[in-house]
């Protein structure tokens, strides 16, 4: 069911500093905007400081605020036994909860160059990428092409299919988390291709954003997630 899939422990595994206690009997634990582990301007010139600030302080914050409101309303509806309101809140939870989940992963997927941003993955993940995509360049080419071709708003992902034990590239629409494409999918790298992620800097030229974002992708984090999921 949609709510469970958004709030599964899998998707929250990377969000250690965010509170994980949800929908407690006596009221709910709300979510907060995570801090970025780097300055807004630290990803320049790949992503401008202006974009990072608005993206984090406005867009992500709005998802958090609206997610908390929706969960508050959900709690009340559940306690009242108001089934139709519970169902009606599903899309607000998927949009805003998904937005919070996805962006929390995204900030960890990025790192300044002087903190390893752009450094190719080594170890197990590097090997798996070569096995499944031929090379890192092959993966980058595929993800960039799928990201550029996505109509409207969404994300392009590198994921691990835990069941089939293989890497996959997939896209999701709007703020749907990767898990909505398959319950056994774990996100390793997500690239936001909503226009707000690049417009002030790259305008209509999404392919240029996709070319440059790889220079600040944090493969260390992706490797950590991959290795912990492969145990």
């Amino acid at each position: 069911m949609a709510i469970r899939s958004v709030l599964s422990t899998r998707t929250l595994s990377g969000l250690k500093e965010t509170s994980s206690k949800l929908l407690g009997f006596r009221g709910i634990q709300t979510f907060t905007l995570p801090d970025l582990p780097y300055d807004y301007s630290a990803l320049e010139p790949a992503i401008s400081g202006e974009i990072m600030q608005i993206h984090h302080q406005k867009h992500h914050q709005t998802y958090v605020t609206n997610y908390n409101n929706a969960l508050e309303q959900l709690d009340q509806a559940v306690n009242k036994g108001d089934a139709s309101t519970v169902v009606k809140l599903h899309s607000a939870i998927q949009f805003n909860g998904g937005g919070h989940v996805n962006h929390s992963i995204f900030w960890k997927n990025l790192a300044p160059v002087n903190q390893g941003g752009g450094e190719p993955p080594k170890g197990a993940l590097g090997g798996a990428i070569d096995t499944h995509f031929g090379s890192l360049e092959g993966l980058v080419k595929k993800m960039s092409a799928e990201g550029a071709a996505l109509q409207g708003s969404g994300w392009v992902w590198l994921g691990l299919d835990k069941e089939l034990k293989k890497l996959v590239v997939d896209t999701t629409a709007n703020q749907d988390p990767l898990v909505t494409k398959g319950a056994s999918l774990v996100p390793l790298v997500g690239i936001d291709v909503w226009e707000h992620a690049y417009y002030l800097q790259y305008k209509n030229v999404r392919p240029d954003y996709l070319k440059n974002v790889w220079k600040v992708i944090n493969w260390k984090y992706a490797s950590e997630v991959y290795e912990s999921e492969c145990k």
Binding site: T62, G152, S153, A173, N174, Q175, W194, H196, L200
Partner: protein, 215 residues
């Protein structure tokens, strides 16, 4: 916009019926340069390339839109065709010195179908603000009634059995340079300062004529 019966069709990037800086300060020239000059142009150019050599070649835009919607399981040419149509419709939905309350027959109909202009205004604003992700909000006409609709990505009322009368583009590229994340401010500015009620009225007349001729 009635479907034409032309045997061949040329897909044209029509300029807006005003200069690119004429909507300032409500919609900047820079926005028009990118939104019309790059985004809309790309939909037209890509559509031409896409239909070349296919059985859609030479068909009107309306024909392509209606035949590629496929009940929501979109065929490849839908996005470019619908977005080319939607953007031309959008430029013509605005004018310099526009916005505010309409008068005459249009106001009477809005009051009939929404109780008051203010209720219509609130409903249109809400639709535009709550269309999640990319899409459009519309005033449309169907079954002799006006209604507000919102659609995702490239979808428009034509494929949903309604006559479009007015639209606002709520893809982020429509407002990001001028308003960044503040979509509600953009929507208010559009309603207060940009809407061409003349265009809406003439579209309503065409819609009524088309309905009664097919009755």
């Amino acid at each position: 916009m009635a479907a034409s019966s032309a045997v061949t069709a040329d897909y044209v990037l029509k300029p807006p019926p005003y200069s690119l800086d004429a909507l300032e300060p409500h919609m900047s020239r820079q926005t028009l340069e990118f939104h019309w000059g790059k985004h809309h142009r790309a939909y037209v150019d890509n559509l031409k390339k896409q239909v070349l050599g296919s059985d859609l070649e030479g068909k009107t835009l309306d024909h392509i839109i209606l035949n590629t919607y496929n009940n929501g399981d979109l065929l490849p040419a839908f996005n470019n065709a619908a977005q080319a149509w939607n953007h031309e419709f959008f430029w013509e939905s605005m004018k310099p010195g526009g916005g505010g309350k309409p008068s005459g027959e249009l106001l009477a109909l809005l009051e009939r179908d929404f109780t008051s202009y203010e209720k219509f205004y609130d409903e249109f604003n809400a639709a535009a603000a709550t269309q999640f992700g990319a899409g459009w909000a519309w005033l449309a006409y169907a079954d002799n009634k006006l209604k507000v609709m919102k659609t995702p990505n490239a979808v428009n009322p034509l494929v949903l059995g309604s006559f479009p009368l007015l639209t606002i583009d709520v893809w982020e590229h429509a407002y990001y340079l001028d308003f960044q994340n503040r979509r509600p401010d953009y929507i208010k500015t559009f309603m207060n300062n940009l809407v061409s009620w003349e265009a809406v009225s003439s579209r309503l007349h065409a819609a009524k004529a088309a309905s009664s001729s097919s009755a």
